[in-house]
Symmetry: C2
Subunit: 218 residues, 2 copies
Protein backbone atom coordinates (compact mmCIF):
# COMPACT_ATOMS: atom_id res chain seq x y z
CA UNK A 1 0.00 0.00 0.00
CA UNK A 2 1.37 3.37 -0.90
CA UNK A 3 -1.56 5.65 -0.02
CA UNK A 4 -1.90 7.68 3.15
CA UNK A 5 -2.03 5.69 6.37
CA UNK A 6 -4.20 7.14 9.13
CA UNK A 7 -2.68 7.40 12.57
CA UNK A 8 -3.80 4.70 14.97
CA UNK A 9 -5.31 5.73 18.30
CA UNK A 10 -6.16 3.65 21.37
CA UNK A 11 -9.72 3.24 20.13
CA UNK A 12 -9.01 2.53 16.47
CA UNK A 13 -6.10 0.17 17.07
CA UNK A 14 -7.34 -3.40 16.77
CA UNK A 15 -6.85 -5.48 19.88
CA UNK A 16 -7.25 -8.80 18.08
CA UNK A 17 -7.13 -10.05 14.48
CA UNK A 18 -4.51 -7.45 13.58
CA UNK A 19 -4.29 -8.80 10.08
CA UNK A 20 -7.89 -7.73 9.45
CA UNK A 21 -7.31 -4.10 10.38
CA UNK A 22 -6.46 -1.41 7.89
CA UNK A 23 -5.67 2.27 8.25
CA UNK A 24 -5.17 2.93 4.57
CA UNK A 25 -7.23 5.88 3.39
CA UNK A 26 -8.03 4.36 -0.01
CA UNK A 27 -9.30 1.17 1.59
CA UNK A 28 -11.43 3.18 4.03
CA UNK A 29 -12.82 5.38 1.26
CA UNK A 30 -13.68 2.44 -0.97
CA UNK A 31 -15.79 0.89 1.80
CA UNK A 32 -17.52 4.19 2.61
CA UNK A 33 -18.35 4.57 -1.09
CA UNK A 34 -19.65 1.02 -1.52
CA UNK A 35 -22.94 1.60 0.29
CA UNK A 36 -25.14 4.51 1.31
CA UNK A 37 -26.22 3.01 4.63
CA UNK A 38 -24.34 3.83 7.80
CA UNK A 39 -25.08 3.55 11.52
CA UNK A 40 -24.34 6.52 13.75
CA UNK A 41 -23.76 6.01 17.46
CA UNK A 42 -24.37 8.95 19.78
CA UNK A 43 -25.42 9.53 23.37
CA UNK A 44 -28.89 10.20 24.77
CA UNK A 45 -28.72 11.08 28.45
CA UNK A 46 -25.31 9.45 28.62
CA UNK A 47 -26.47 6.17 27.07
CA UNK A 48 -25.64 4.87 23.60
CA UNK A 49 -28.13 5.05 20.71
CA UNK A 50 -27.55 3.83 17.16
CA UNK A 51 -29.52 5.27 14.24
CA UNK A 52 -29.27 4.06 10.64
CA UNK A 53 -28.97 6.81 8.07
CA UNK A 54 -27.58 7.62 4.64
CA UNK A 55 -24.07 9.04 4.36
CA UNK A 56 -21.92 10.50 1.64
CA UNK A 57 -18.25 11.28 1.37
CA UNK A 58 -16.54 14.38 0.03
CA UNK A 59 -12.79 13.91 0.00
CA UNK A 60 -11.57 13.39 3.55
CA UNK A 61 -14.94 14.20 5.16
CA UNK A 62 -18.07 12.16 5.79
CA UNK A 63 -21.56 13.72 5.88
CA UNK A 64 -25.04 12.71 6.95
CA UNK A 65 -28.28 14.67 7.20
CA UNK A 66 -31.90 14.76 8.25
CA UNK A 67 -34.55 16.93 9.81
CA UNK A 68 -33.35 19.91 11.84
CA UNK A 69 -35.65 18.57 14.57
CA UNK A 70 -33.98 15.14 14.66
CA UNK A 71 -32.81 14.08 18.10
CA UNK A 72 -30.16 11.83 16.53
CA UNK A 73 -28.66 14.82 14.72
CA UNK A 74 -29.01 17.31 17.56
CA UNK A 75 -27.32 14.85 19.94
CA UNK A 76 -24.51 14.33 17.41
CA UNK A 77 -23.82 18.00 16.69
CA UNK A 78 -20.75 19.01 18.66
CA UNK A 79 -20.73 15.68 20.47
CA UNK A 80 -18.81 12.45 20.24
CA UNK A 81 -20.13 10.06 17.61
CA UNK A 82 -19.02 6.83 15.99
CA UNK A 83 -20.13 6.41 12.38
CA UNK A 84 -19.92 2.81 11.19
CA UNK A 85 -20.37 1.52 7.64
CA UNK A 86 -20.50 -2.20 7.01
CA UNK A 87 -21.25 -4.63 4.24
CA UNK A 88 -21.97 -8.29 4.87
CA UNK A 89 -20.34 -10.03 1.91
CA UNK A 90 -20.89 -13.66 2.77
CA UNK A 91 -21.39 -16.41 5.27
CA UNK A 92 -18.37 -18.64 5.86
CA UNK A 93 -19.15 -22.27 6.58
CA UNK A 94 -16.42 -24.22 8.31
CA UNK A 95 -15.96 -27.80 9.52
CA UNK A 96 -16.48 -26.81 13.16
CA UNK A 97 -19.02 -24.36 14.60
CA UNK A 98 -16.14 -22.34 16.03
CA UNK A 99 -14.63 -21.45 12.69
CA UNK A 100 -17.86 -20.36 11.04
CA UNK A 101 -17.51 -16.71 10.21
CA UNK A 102 -18.73 -13.92 7.98
CA UNK A 103 -17.01 -12.05 5.18
CA UNK A 104 -17.47 -8.34 5.56
CA UNK A 105 -16.01 -4.89 5.02
CA UNK A 106 -16.47 -2.28 7.72
CA UNK A 107 -15.24 1.16 8.68
CA UNK A 108 -15.55 2.91 12.05
CA UNK A 109 -15.03 6.67 12.18
CA UNK A 110 -14.78 8.46 15.53
CA UNK A 111 -15.19 12.19 15.89
CA UNK A 112 -17.51 15.06 16.66
CA UNK A 113 -20.41 15.80 14.36
CA UNK A 114 -20.28 19.39 13.15
CA UNK A 115 -23.27 21.17 11.66
CA UNK A 116 -22.91 22.84 8.26
CA UNK A 117 -24.34 26.30 8.91
CA UNK A 118 -23.83 28.32 5.71
CA UNK A 119 -26.94 28.09 3.53
CA UNK A 120 -25.08 28.05 0.22
CA UNK A 121 -22.70 25.42 1.54
CA UNK A 122 -25.67 23.32 2.70
CA UNK A 123 -27.24 23.49 -0.74
CA UNK A 124 -23.95 22.61 -2.42
CA UNK A 125 -23.47 19.65 -0.11
CA UNK A 126 -26.96 18.31 -0.81
CA UNK A 127 -26.34 18.76 -4.52
CA UNK A 128 -23.10 16.79 -4.28
CA UNK A 129 -24.86 14.09 -2.27
CA UNK A 130 -27.65 13.62 -4.81
CA UNK A 131 -25.33 13.92 -7.80
CA UNK A 132 -23.10 11.15 -6.44
CA UNK A 133 -26.12 8.87 -6.28
CA UNK A 134 -27.92 9.98 -9.43
CA UNK A 135 -25.67 12.04 -11.73
CA UNK A 136 -27.57 14.76 -13.57
CA UNK A 137 -30.70 14.54 -11.45
CA UNK A 138 -30.27 17.70 -9.35
CA UNK A 139 -30.77 20.08 -12.27
CA UNK A 140 -33.92 18.23 -13.38
CA UNK A 141 -35.63 18.80 -10.03
CA UNK A 142 -37.82 21.54 -8.67
CA UNK A 143 -35.21 23.76 -6.90
CA UNK A 144 -34.86 23.63 -3.12
CA UNK A 145 -36.53 26.40 -1.19
CA UNK A 146 -35.00 28.37 1.67
CA UNK A 147 -37.55 26.80 3.98
CA UNK A 148 -36.47 23.30 2.95
CA UNK A 149 -32.83 24.15 3.50
CA UNK A 150 -33.69 25.50 6.92
CA UNK A 151 -35.56 22.33 7.80
CA UNK A 152 -32.55 20.19 6.87
CA UNK A 153 -29.56 19.62 9.12
CA UNK A 154 -26.28 18.41 7.65
CA UNK A 155 -23.56 17.05 9.91
CA UNK A 156 -20.01 16.33 8.86
CA UNK A 157 -16.76 15.16 10.34
CA UNK A 158 -13.25 14.49 9.13
CA UNK A 159 -12.29 10.91 8.28
CA UNK A 160 -9.30 11.09 10.57
CA UNK A 161 -9.69 8.77 13.56
CA UNK A 162 -10.87 5.83 11.51
CA UNK A 163 -10.11 2.23 10.71
CA UNK A 164 -11.29 -0.45 8.32
CA UNK A 165 -11.75 -4.11 9.05
CA UNK A 166 -12.12 -6.66 6.29
CA UNK A 167 -12.55 -10.41 6.11
CA UNK A 168 -12.45 -12.23 2.80
CA UNK A 169 -11.94 -15.80 1.64
CA UNK A 170 -12.90 -19.23 2.82
CA UNK A 171 -12.97 -20.89 6.22
CA UNK A 172 -9.77 -21.33 8.22
CA UNK A 173 -10.24 -24.65 9.97
CA UNK A 174 -8.12 -26.50 12.47
CA UNK A 175 -5.62 -28.53 10.45
CA UNK A 176 -6.90 -31.91 11.61
CA UNK A 177 -10.49 -31.00 10.64
CA UNK A 178 -9.68 -30.79 6.93
CA UNK A 179 -9.88 -34.59 6.79
CA UNK A 180 -13.54 -34.56 7.83
CA UNK A 181 -16.20 -35.20 5.15
CA UNK A 182 -17.94 -31.87 5.81
CA UNK A 183 -18.80 -29.44 3.04
CA UNK A 184 -17.16 -26.10 3.79
CA UNK A 185 -17.10 -22.93 1.78
CA UNK A 186 -18.55 -19.47 1.35
CA UNK A 187 -22.09 -18.36 0.60
CA UNK A 188 -21.57 -14.96 -1.07
CA UNK A 189 -24.14 -12.23 -0.41
CA UNK A 190 -24.66 -9.15 -2.52
CA UNK A 191 -26.82 -6.08 -2.66
CA UNK A 192 -28.70 -5.87 -5.90
CA UNK A 193 -31.09 -3.48 -7.63
CA UNK A 194 -34.45 -4.61 -8.89
CA UNK A 195 -36.51 -3.03 -11.68
CA UNK A 196 -37.32 0.63 -10.96
CA UNK A 197 -40.97 1.19 -10.02
CA UNK A 198 -42.45 4.33 -11.58
CA UNK A 199 -44.70 6.52 -9.44
CA UNK A 200 -48.27 6.03 -10.71
CA UNK A 201 -48.63 9.81 -10.70
CA UNK A 202 -45.76 10.35 -13.17
CA UNK A 203 -46.82 12.35 -16.23
CA UNK A 204 -47.53 10.12 -19.22
CA UNK A 205 -44.61 9.18 -21.42
CA UNK A 206 -41.78 9.99 -19.01
CA UNK A 207 -38.81 7.70 -19.63
CA UNK A 208 -36.74 6.36 -16.76
CA UNK A 209 -33.61 8.55 -16.66
CA UNK A 210 -30.24 6.88 -17.19
CA UNK A 211 -29.14 7.93 -13.72
CA UNK A 212 -31.62 5.48 -12.21
CA UNK A 213 -29.97 2.57 -13.99
CA UNK A 214 -26.45 3.79 -13.31
CA UNK A 215 -27.04 3.78 -9.54
CA UNK A 216 -24.21 1.66 -8.24
CA UNK A 217 -24.75 1.56 -4.48
CA UNK A 218 -25.20 -0.25 -2.38
CA UNK B 1 -52.66 -5.33 14.79
CA UNK B 2 -53.61 -7.80 17.46
CA UNK B 3 -50.21 -8.93 18.70
CA UNK B 4 -48.44 -7.66 21.81
CA UNK B 5 -47.58 -3.97 21.79
CA UNK B 6 -44.37 -3.01 23.60
CA UNK B 7 -44.54 -0.17 26.07
CA UNK B 8 -43.17 3.11 24.76
CA UNK B 9 -40.46 4.87 26.75
CA UNK B 10 -38.99 8.36 26.35
CA UNK B 11 -36.20 6.99 24.19
CA UNK B 12 -38.23 4.62 22.03
CA UNK B 13 -41.14 7.01 21.47
CA UNK B 14 -40.74 8.62 18.05
CA UNK B 15 -40.52 12.39 18.13
CA UNK B 16 -41.36 12.83 14.46
CA UNK B 17 -42.93 10.71 11.70
CA UNK B 18 -45.17 8.96 14.20
CA UNK B 19 -46.81 7.02 11.42
CA UNK B 20 -43.52 5.23 10.72
CA UNK B 21 -43.09 3.96 14.26
CA UNK B 22 -44.23 0.60 15.43
CA UNK B 23 -44.19 -1.13 18.80
CA UNK B 24 -45.78 -4.34 17.63
CA UNK B 25 -43.75 -7.37 18.67
CA UNK B 26 -44.47 -9.32 15.48
CA UNK B 27 -43.31 -6.42 13.32
CA UNK B 28 -40.16 -6.05 15.41
CA UNK B 29 -39.44 -9.78 15.28
CA UNK B 30 -39.94 -9.98 11.52
CA UNK B 31 -37.32 -7.25 10.99
CA UNK B 32 -34.86 -8.85 13.42
CA UNK B 33 -35.28 -12.15 11.57
CA UNK B 34 -34.88 -10.65 8.09
CA UNK B 35 -31.12 -10.15 8.33
CA UNK B 36 -28.22 -11.44 10.41
CA UNK B 37 -26.37 -8.13 10.52
CA UNK B 38 -26.85 -5.75 13.42
CA UNK B 39 -24.95 -2.78 14.81
CA UNK B 40 -24.32 -2.62 18.55
CA UNK B 41 -23.69 0.73 20.21
CA UNK B 42 -21.81 0.75 23.52
CA UNK B 43 -19.51 3.04 25.43
CA UNK B 44 -15.71 3.13 25.48
CA UNK B 45 -14.43 5.57 28.10
CA UNK B 46 -17.82 7.27 28.05
CA UNK B 47 -17.88 7.74 24.28
CA UNK B 48 -20.07 5.90 21.78
CA UNK B 49 -18.72 3.07 19.61
CA UNK B 50 -20.69 1.06 17.05
CA UNK B 51 -19.62 -2.43 16.05
CA UNK B 52 -21.29 -4.53 13.35
CA UNK B 53 -21.95 -8.11 14.33
CA UNK B 54 -24.25 -11.07 13.72
CA UNK B 55 -27.34 -11.48 15.89
CA UNK B 56 -29.99 -14.09 16.42
CA UNK B 57 -33.33 -14.10 18.16
CA UNK B 58 -34.82 -16.66 20.52
CA UNK B 59 -38.37 -15.74 21.42
CA UNK B 60 -38.34 -12.40 23.21
CA UNK B 61 -34.55 -12.19 23.52
CA UNK B 62 -31.82 -11.08 21.15
CA UNK B 63 -28.30 -12.53 21.23
CA UNK B 64 -24.90 -11.75 19.78
CA UNK B 65 -21.47 -13.27 20.35
CA UNK B 66 -17.77 -13.12 19.71
CA UNK B 67 -14.41 -13.65 21.31
CA UNK B 68 -14.28 -13.56 25.09
CA UNK B 69 -11.46 -11.03 24.64
CA UNK B 70 -13.59 -8.66 22.53
CA UNK B 71 -13.68 -5.11 23.83
CA UNK B 72 -17.05 -4.55 22.16
CA UNK B 73 -18.52 -7.48 24.13
CA UNK B 74 -16.78 -6.73 27.42
CA UNK B 75 -17.97 -3.13 27.26
CA UNK B 76 -21.53 -4.31 26.54
CA UNK B 77 -21.73 -6.89 29.31
CA UNK B 78 -23.70 -5.37 32.16
CA UNK B 79 -23.71 -1.99 30.44
CA UNK B 80 -26.15 0.06 28.42
CA UNK B 81 -26.26 -0.86 24.76
CA UNK B 82 -28.41 -0.08 21.76
CA UNK B 83 -28.69 -2.89 19.21
CA UNK B 84 -29.95 -1.69 15.84
CA UNK B 85 -30.98 -3.82 12.87
CA UNK B 86 -31.75 -2.16 9.56
CA UNK B 87 -32.45 -3.08 5.97
CA UNK B 88 -32.23 -0.58 3.15
CA UNK B 89 -35.06 -1.62 0.83
CA UNK B 90 -34.89 1.06 -1.80
CA UNK B 91 -34.08 4.59 -2.90
CA UNK B 92 -37.07 6.88 -3.31
CA UNK B 93 -36.76 9.44 -6.11
CA UNK B 94 -39.05 12.43 -5.84
CA UNK B 95 -39.68 15.56 -7.90
CA UNK B 96 -37.79 17.77 -5.46
CA UNK B 97 -34.52 17.05 -3.66
CA UNK B 98 -36.31 17.51 -0.35
CA UNK B 99 -38.68 14.61 -0.82
CA UNK B 100 -36.09 12.09 -1.90
CA UNK B 101 -36.03 9.36 0.70
CA UNK B 102 -35.17 5.76 1.37
CA UNK B 103 -37.38 2.77 2.02
CA UNK B 104 -36.15 0.81 5.00
CA UNK B 105 -37.05 -1.37 7.95
CA UNK B 106 -35.23 -0.84 11.24
CA UNK B 107 -35.42 -1.86 14.87
CA UNK B 108 -33.67 -0.29 17.84
CA UNK B 109 -33.43 -2.27 21.07
CA UNK B 110 -32.19 -0.62 24.26
CA UNK B 111 -31.01 -2.58 27.26
CA UNK B 112 -28.09 -4.07 29.12
CA UNK B 113 -26.07 -6.85 27.54
CA UNK B 114 -25.95 -9.88 29.84
CA UNK B 115 -23.39 -12.64 29.47
CA UNK B 116 -24.59 -16.21 29.20
CA UNK B 117 -22.43 -18.00 31.77
CA UNK B 118 -23.62 -21.61 31.92
CA UNK B 119 -21.53 -23.76 29.57
CA UNK B 120 -24.39 -26.03 28.51
CA UNK B 121 -26.61 -23.02 27.90
CA UNK B 122 -23.87 -21.41 25.81
CA UNK B 123 -23.56 -24.52 23.69
CA UNK B 124 -27.32 -24.75 23.27
CA UNK B 125 -27.52 -21.10 22.22
CA UNK B 126 -24.79 -21.51 19.62
CA UNK B 127 -26.54 -24.59 18.32
CA UNK B 128 -29.81 -22.68 17.99
CA UNK B 129 -27.98 -19.81 16.26
CA UNK B 130 -26.36 -22.06 13.66
CA UNK B 131 -29.48 -24.18 13.18
CA UNK B 132 -31.56 -21.09 12.44
CA UNK B 133 -29.13 -20.17 9.68
CA UNK B 134 -28.35 -23.64 8.36
CA UNK B 135 -30.84 -26.25 9.59
CA UNK B 136 -29.22 -29.65 10.15
CA UNK B 137 -25.65 -28.40 9.99
CA UNK B 138 -24.77 -28.50 13.70
CA UNK B 139 -24.87 -32.30 13.93
CA UNK B 140 -22.68 -32.65 10.83
CA UNK B 141 -19.85 -30.64 12.39
CA UNK B 142 -16.88 -31.56 14.48
CA UNK B 143 -18.27 -30.99 18.03
CA UNK B 144 -17.32 -27.85 19.96
CA UNK B 145 -14.61 -28.25 22.57
CA UNK B 146 -14.70 -26.86 26.09
CA UNK B 147 -11.83 -24.57 25.15
CA UNK B 148 -13.83 -23.15 22.23
CA UNK B 149 -16.84 -22.54 24.43
CA UNK B 150 -14.62 -20.79 26.94
CA UNK B 151 -13.18 -18.57 24.22
CA UNK B 152 -16.66 -17.53 23.09
CA UNK B 153 -18.75 -14.87 24.81
CA UNK B 154 -22.50 -14.73 24.22
CA UNK B 155 -24.47 -11.66 25.22
CA UNK B 156 -28.23 -11.43 25.32
CA UNK B 157 -30.94 -8.99 26.25
CA UNK B 158 -34.72 -8.92 26.34
CA UNK B 159 -36.53 -7.34 23.40
CA UNK B 160 -38.46 -5.10 25.72
CA UNK B 161 -37.51 -1.45 25.26
CA UNK B 162 -37.65 -1.56 21.48
CA UNK B 163 -39.26 0.05 18.48
CA UNK B 164 -39.48 -0.49 14.76
CA UNK B 165 -39.45 2.14 12.06
CA UNK B 166 -40.52 1.36 8.52
CA UNK B 167 -40.86 3.34 5.31
CA UNK B 168 -42.43 1.79 2.24
CA UNK B 169 -43.94 3.03 -0.99
CA UNK B 170 -43.26 5.79 -3.46
CA UNK B 171 -42.35 9.45 -3.08
CA UNK B 172 -44.67 11.87 -1.31
CA UNK B 173 -44.24 15.10 -3.23
CA UNK B 174 -45.68 18.54 -2.69
CA UNK B 175 -49.04 18.56 -4.45
CA UNK B 176 -48.06 21.23 -6.99
CA UNK B 177 -44.93 19.28 -7.99
CA UNK B 178 -46.91 16.38 -9.42
CA UNK B 179 -47.44 18.44 -12.57
CA UNK B 180 -43.71 18.59 -13.27
CA UNK B 181 -42.29 16.37 -16.04
CA UNK B 182 -39.86 14.64 -13.68
CA UNK B 183 -39.57 10.86 -13.45
CA UNK B 184 -40.24 9.81 -9.88
CA UNK B 185 -40.39 6.37 -8.36
CA UNK B 186 -38.59 3.76 -6.33
CA UNK B 187 -35.39 1.89 -7.03
CA UNK B 188 -35.83 -1.32 -5.01
CA UNK B 189 -32.75 -2.85 -3.40
CA UNK B 190 -32.43 -6.42 -2.20
CA UNK B 191 -29.93 -8.70 -0.58
CA UNK B 192 -29.26 -11.73 -2.68
CA UNK B 193 -27.23 -14.92 -2.49
CA UNK B 194 -24.77 -15.88 -5.16
CA UNK B 195 -23.52 -19.36 -6.01
CA UNK B 196 -21.87 -21.08 -3.02
CA UNK B 197 -18.09 -21.34 -3.36
CA UNK B 198 -16.69 -24.65 -2.17
CA UNK B 199 -13.50 -24.63 -0.12
CA UNK B 200 -10.72 -26.02 -2.38
CA UNK B 201 -9.70 -28.28 0.50
CA UNK B 202 -13.09 -30.03 0.67
CA UNK B 203 -12.80 -33.80 0.32
CA UNK B 204 -13.56 -35.01 -3.20
CA UNK B 205 -17.18 -35.68 -4.06
CA UNK B 206 -18.84 -33.75 -1.21
CA UNK B 207 -22.19 -32.36 -2.33
CA UNK B 208 -23.35 -28.92 -1.24
CA UNK B 209 -25.82 -29.56 1.62
CA UNK B 210 -29.41 -28.40 1.18
CA UNK B 211 -29.05 -26.06 4.15
CA UNK B 212 -26.68 -23.88 2.12
CA UNK B 213 -29.33 -23.29 -0.52
CA UNK B 214 -32.12 -22.83 1.99
CA UNK B 215 -30.31 -19.96 3.69
CA UNK B 216 -32.85 -17.17 3.64
CA UNK B 217 -31.09 -14.24 5.30
CA UNK B 218 -30.31 -11.58 4.74
Amino acid sequence: MTTEQLEQTPRTRLRRSHKRGDFDRETINSILDATSLCHVGYLVDGKPAVTPTIHWREGDHIYWHGSSASRALKNSNGHDVCLTVSLLDGMVLARSAMHHSANYRSVMIYGHGTKVTDVDEKKEKLRTFLEQLFPGRWDMLRPMTDQELKATMILGMPIEEASAKVRTGGPIDDEEDYELPIWAGVLPLVHAMKRPEADPRNLKGLAIPDHVFSFARP
